[in-house]
């Protein structure tokens, strides 16, 4: 008997009815996915996974690469109606806010790269964060989070949480004793960033995993600064990993997206929040993200190569007070970085002698790095915390989280290191010459 091919995940089928027994007779088990059939890439190298996982060729034309399924809605048949009735609508195509083949392709690629059973892409990193956090907490819940969180996440805990009758305690991510002391009877989650911004602290994730397990609470991490070639937090025992995919994952500074990846059990709890809060990712953005991800491992190698060379150059420059790059021995967390990070990234933070005004002058003389917020793009991006990301803080408040005067936040792109070094060289020369002329 010929059967209509399943439009969706063919491994997902309706549970049987239990008229002859109780609910122990229900036969549907949880499985990874939802994925299309037939192109799993699990046990191959990282670059092979980046290129092939989730990606499928057009079955009608043979066109290579996942087509862009620019559709808001899908034709419904018995199978789709059955999936709604059986409670597994996530495994079929119904409406693009629920799921779309372009989303599935990139979700499978991201799940594979993170070593996760399941992943959901969102229309921004913040959409991923809000949907994930709110899926995993209940009425009256409390969260322990890092005190130097990304501003958007801080606003979720500081502005939205109290309105929802929830609370958060923010603690220095180095201070394990304080983190543990902040845990209350109603605490449900630890929320941390694996590498912090802008001082690039490498957080002791295995210690946080141990604390979370001992207190029977969830550990959710934002791994935006450490994409899968650098760190795979789920392998360290983290419950859920979130990214702003606008950064390294996409890598081309041309879209806004987010992702949450983890066990199917948790990601299935997040999916209804995607439906309710509505942060679904457009199919065209999915295509761009999928294309960007194919080069993630080679881009990361290029980021690391140029950033390492530039960080070493900056470290020896007399106009630079201090450089923070986790893979250099001078970084306070270098030992932990060697233990937890498989490679370096493009993020370099340094402090210019002469404070914020000297840093501003240097930045204005640079020709290659673009003065813009964000990170992880192929082009170098540069910004100063004092007038951008941490502009609302006083200099004393900035110093308390390690942002001393002259702090420069640099995301090294994939340009040739020699060109970046030459550009910094001319900018340093220009500001020192200018100082002499001014005097």
């Amino acid at each position: 008997m010929s059967k209509t091919p399943v439009m969706g995940d063919p491994n997902s089928v309706s549970p049987n009815s239990t008229r002859d027994g109780w609910i122990n007779k229900l036969d549907r088990k949880r499985a990874e996915g939802p994925f299309f059939d037939g192109h799993r890439v699990r046990n191959q190298g990282f670059s092979t996974q980046a290129v092939h996982a989730g990606t499928h060729d057009d079955p009608r034309t043979g066109a290579v690469g996942t087509p862009i399924y620019q559709a808001s809605t899908f034709i419904l048949g018995e199978d789709q109606y059955g999936s709604v009735e059986g409670g597994f609508a996530r495994d079929r195509f119904i409406y693009s806010r629920y799921g779309n083949p372009s989303q599935w392709a990139v979700q499978e690629k991201l799940a594979t790269l993170e070593g996760a059973e399941s992943a959901i892409v969102f229309s921004s990193g913040m959409a991923a964060i809000t949907a994930s956090v709110l899926a995993l907490v209940d009425k009256g819940a409390h969260v322990v989070a890092a005190s130097d969180l990304y501003g958007g996440t801080f606003n979720l805990f500081n502005q939205e949480f109290p309105s929802l009758g929830m609370s958060a305690t923010l603690v220095d991510s180095y201070d394990l004793e304080a983190i543990e002391a902040a845990i209350q009877p109603n605490t449900q989650m630890l929320y941390f960033e694996v590498i912090t911004n802008p001082v690039l602290k490498v957080v002791d994730i295995p210690a946080l995993v141990e604390i979370a397990k001992r207190h029977q609470i969830r550990l959710v991490v934002d791994s935006t600064f450490a994409p899968p070639p650098v760190m795979r937090p789920l392998e360290l025992g983290v419950d859920l990993v979130i990214h702003s995919a606008s950064k390294y994952l996409n890598g081309h500074s041309d879209l806004i997206a987010g992702v949450a990846a983890g066990p199917r059990k948790l990601v299935d709890q997040i999916w209804p929040r995607l439906l309710n809060y509505g942060g679904s990712l457009d199919p065209h953005a999915c295509f761009l993200l999928e294309r960007g991800l194919k080069t993630l491992p080679i881009r990361m190698r290029a980021h690391e190569e140029s950033a390492t060379a530039l960080a070493k150059y900056l470290e020896t420059h007399p106009a630079v007070d201090r450089v923070l790059y986790p893979m250099l021995p001078s970084h306070p967390d270098h030992a932990r970085a060697k233990q937890l990070m498989k490679m370096g990234t493009g993020n370099v933070t340094f402090f210019v002698k002469g404070g914020d005004m000297a840093a501003l002058k240097l930045m204005n003389h640079l020709r290659l790095p673009k003065q813009a917020t964000s990170l992880g793009g192929v082009e170098s991006l540069i910004s100063l915390p004092f007038n951008s990301s941490q502009a609302t803080m006083t200099s004393r408040q900035r110093a308390a989280i390690g942002i001393d005067p002259g702090c420069v936040r640099l995301s090294v792109g994939i340009e040739d290191a020699s060109d970046l070094i030459a550009d910094f060289e001319q900018a340093f020369t220009a500001i020192s010459t200018k100082e002499m002329t001014d005097a």
């Binding site: 997902s12 309706s14 549970p15 009815s17 239990t18 008229r19 109780w22 609910i23 122990n24 007779k25 229900l26 036969d27 549907r28 088990k29 949880r30 709604v84 009735e85 059986g86 409670g87 597994f88 609508a89 907490v137 209940d138 009425k139 009256g140 819940a141 409390h142 009758g165 009877p185 109603n186 605490t187 449900q188 207190h215 029977q216 609470i217 969830r218 059990k265 299935d268």
Partner: protein
């Protein structure tokens, strides 16, 4: 989704517990504070669902009617007992119906119980202290036959934790921690 329960997730959870029994261990707690007279305030403690702690931020009050020396500020303990029994039977009934692909339109359980306070008062009779009997009627509208509903009724009571706690002997163990104040 049937009866607003995702059958797939119910099935996945049952199979998860079959493979990992610790995921099926639920630990509950409740704190009761005496407020005044016969009135007390109940507050849920955090709950453990398998190995994970969940916030439970719920409080309610219990009181006795004025005729029983109270102020009638809340349901009384017997009503709360019936409420806990009935809402548990309801969960089992609806979950069982969903697993059997029975579409429900309405379900109502009507409880009645009579107890003789002479037991509480210690007046020497043969009456039991608690309810000697609890009566209920389930009113259900849905797409199953009377026979299917009767079968579901039997299975749901057999698998309802609160119903089984009431019909079977339960060890009630407790202690008291005392602080004596100056008269």
């Amino acid at each position: 989704m049937r009866n607003n329960i995702p059958t797939a997730a119910l099935s996945e959870f049952v199979n998860e517990v079959a493979d990992a029994p610790e995921e099926g261990l639920m630990s509950y707690g409740l704190e009761l504070d005496w407020e005044s007279g016969t009135r007390s305030r109940a507050q849920t403690k955090p709950m453990l669902i398998g190995p994970h702690r969940v916030s439970r931020s719920f409080t309610w009050k219990a009181d006795e009617p004025r005729q029983l020396m109270g102020n009638n500020h809340g349901p009384n303990p017997q009503e709360l007992l019936l409420s806990g029994l009935g809402s548990c039977m309801m969960v089992a009934f609806v979950a069982g119906a969903t697993a059997e692909a029975i579409q429900l339109e309405s379900v109502k359980i009507d409880f009645d119980g009579t107890l003789d306070l002479r037991g509480f008062m210690g007046l020497g009779t043969n009456s039991t202290v608690g309810f000697p009997e609890i009566n209920y009627t389930i009113h259900v509208t849905g797409d199953a036959t009377a026979e299917q509903f009767e079968d579901l009724h039997r299975k749901s009571v057999a698998h309802s934790p609160n119903a089984q706690t009431i019909v079977n002997p339960v060890a009630l163990t407790g202690e008291i921690i005392c602080t004596q104040i100056e008269g």
